[in-house]
């Protein structure tokens, strides 16, 4: 399987704290993306980082990418109860249309 992995599997923090989750993947990529899934629903795209970028910001989200280690991290700053969801990274393999997701991190933000 080419499925990536995320850690931690689950994370519980207080509102206002920062949440960091990590993703490791297995193949060379063109870009890496992060998605959020609210309970029982489809996934929503959050942010894309290309393989030649090292860091990207979008609002309270910060993503880093280390292609030498085949890993990425997603930082959510000043978390809110509404950030409670599962977060997944997804990668496309170079030279293929295959699109692979990781195992996900379940984030719970306590009010």
């Amino acid at each position: 399987s080419q499925q990536g992995e995320e850690d931690p599997q689950a994370l519980s923090i207080q509102e206002g704290e920062n949440a960091t989750m990590n993703c490791s993947y297995k193949t060379s990529i063109n870009n890496l993306q992060w998605y959020r899934q609210n309970s029982g629903r489809g996934l929503v795209h959050l942010i894309l980082i290309r393989s030649n970028e090292r860091e990207k910001h979008s609002g309270r989200l910060r993503v880093t990418l280390d292609t030498s280690k085949k890993s990425s991290s997603l930082l959510i700053t000043a978390s809110r109860a509404a950030d409670t969801a599962s977060y997944f990274c997804a990668t496309d393999g170079r030279g293929t249309y295959k699109y692979i997701f990781g195992t996900g991190t379940r984030l719970k933000v306590l009010a």
Binding site: N31, R41, G42, L43, A90, Y97, K98, Y99, F101, G102
Partner: protein, 112 residues
């Protein structure tokens, strides 16, 4: 707004039945995907298609087949449903160039 529509939200089928899950997208996307989602395992790719009539196996194709006769529609077929195929099935579409994937709301399939 991009829309990806899966034909059923909930489905209950009997073991051995042939099951069709339909997915339609309205954005003229070339790529379409079928995943299954199980607790602790994330999304696992079953099949994908990068053009009409083109299909490729994902990581877990066994027991499934797909059909893409028209660009907007991608069907997942369970040839003979088994209880271990009870799962949430998610369809997604994406334009060439890998910008972002758009997901349907999912079909929760129970095989009894």
């Amino acid at each position: 707004d991009v829309k990806v529509t899966q034909s059923s939200r909930y489905l209950v089928k009997r073991t051995g039945e042939k099951v069709f899950l339909e997915c339609v997208q309205d954005m003229d996307h070339e790529n379409m995907f079928w995943y299954r989602q199980d607790p602790g395992l994330g999304l696992r790719l079953i099949y994908f298609s990068y053009d009409v009539k083109m299909k490729e196996k994902g990581d877990i194709p066994e027991g499934y087949s797909v059909s893409r006769e028209k660009k907007e529609r991608f069907s997942l077929i369970l040839e003979s449903a088994s209880t271990n195929q009870t799962s949430m099935y998610l369809c997604a579409s994406m334009a060439h160039g890998n910008t972002e994937a758009f997901f349907g709301q999912g079909t929760r399939l129970t095989v009894v």
